[in-house]
Symmetry: C2
C-alpha cells in the first residue's frame, strides 16, 4: 500500500490494517490517525514513536505488559496474534528443544518477577541463541534501563510490521 | 473479587481480567497495574480515569476509535467483544426493526464523518429510544465537546465493567 492510499483511509480501515503495529495497542494507531496526512513512511513511524515517548512511564510499562512471553503460554495455546506468531516462529521459538524451552521459561519468569513486565525483543532481528543470551544478560539490568530498552525493541518491531504494510517511498519521489 | 485479591494479582492475570474495562485498550489497565495497591474500588477507578485524562487529545480520540458502532458492522458479523455484545444487546441494539436500523446506520455514518471517531454512549444506562435521540442530538455538537462527552461515556462504561468484576468496599471497611 502506498502513502497516498494510507492517507486516504477512513479511521476504521486504518485501525483494522495498522492496529497491531504495536502489539495489542490499537489505541496508538487510532490516535496517530489524527496526525495524517503523513508526508512519507518515516513521518508515519515518527508519529507512532512520538506518541509512545509522550506516555508516562506507567504507559510505557503498559505497552510492554501487552506483549506475550517468547516461547510462552500464548505460543503453546495458540493465542498469539498473527504477527507475533510469525515473528516467534521465524526466530525458532516454536521449535525449542526441551532444555532450551525450560531455560527460556525460567529466565522469562525471573525477568518478569524482577521488572513487572515481560522481556521484549525484536525476534525478527535475532535468532534463538541470541535471544537466550540477551534474556539472561538483560535480567541483570536496572528496571529503568530495561523499560527503555524494551520500548526500543517495541519500536523495532513496529518498524518491521509497518514495512510489511506500507511501501517505503521511492527516493525519486522524496 | 475483593480488593485484596485484585492487589495481589500478577500483571498477566490483572490484564487478562481487567484488560477490556476500557474497550480494546488493555494498555490502560496494564499501565495502571503500576499504581497498585489500590486502597479501594474508587482508587482503582480513579487511576484509570487519571491515565485517560493525562493522554493528549489524539490519545482520547484513539480510545474512542477503538469502540465499535452501536448496532454496527461488528454486531452484525459477531466480532464484538463479549462486554460490548452484552451491553448492546441489553439496550436492544440487536433487535432494531428495519427503520430503526437504517436510522441508526445513517446517523452513525453522519457522526463519524463529522467527528472522525464513533458515537460512544454507555448503552447500559440508556434504552433504544434514548440512544437514537442522543445520537441525533450529539451529531450537532462541536468536535471538542463530543470528544470530551465520548470520554465521559467511556468512563461510565468502565465503571460498570469494573463493578462487574470487583466487589465494592463494604462501608464498615472504609
Amino acid at each position: 500500500m502506498d502513502l497516498a492510499t494510507v492517507n486516504a483511509l477512513h479511521y476504521e480501515d486504518f485501525v483494522n490494517i495498522f492496529g497491531n503495529v504495536v502489539e495489542k495497542c490499537p489505541i496508538i494507531t487510532a490516535a496517530v490517525w489524527s496526525r495524517r496526512p503523513f508526508v512519507n513512511f518515516t513521518a508515519l513511524e515518527a508519529a507512532i514513536s512520538e506518541f509512545i515517548d509522550a506516555l508516562p512511564e506507567s504507559g510505557k510499562e503498559g505497552i510492554l505488559r501487552c506483549h506475550p512471553d517468547l516461547a510462552g503460554r500464548d505460543l503453546q495455546s495458540g493465542t498469539l496474534t498473527r504477527e507475533s506468531l510469525e515473528e516467534q516462529a521465524g526466530a525458532g521459538m516454536d521449535a525449542l528443544n526441551s532444555a532450551e524451552y525450560s531455560r527460556m521459561a525460567r529466565l522469562n519468569d525471573e525477568y518478569k518477577e524482577r521488572f513487572g513486565f515481560p522481556f521484549v525483543i525484536c525476534a525478527r532481528m535475532n535468532d534463538k541463541g541470541n535471544i537466550l543470551l540477551q534474556l539472561s544478560e538483560r535480567c541483570r539490568n536496572e528496571r529503568a534501563v530495561e523499560r527503555a530498552r524494551g520500548i526500543e525493541e517495541v519500536k523495532k518491531i513496529c518498524h518491521l510490521r509497518l514495512q510489511g504494510l506500507v511501501l517505503i517511498d521511492a527516493p525519486n519521489k522524496l
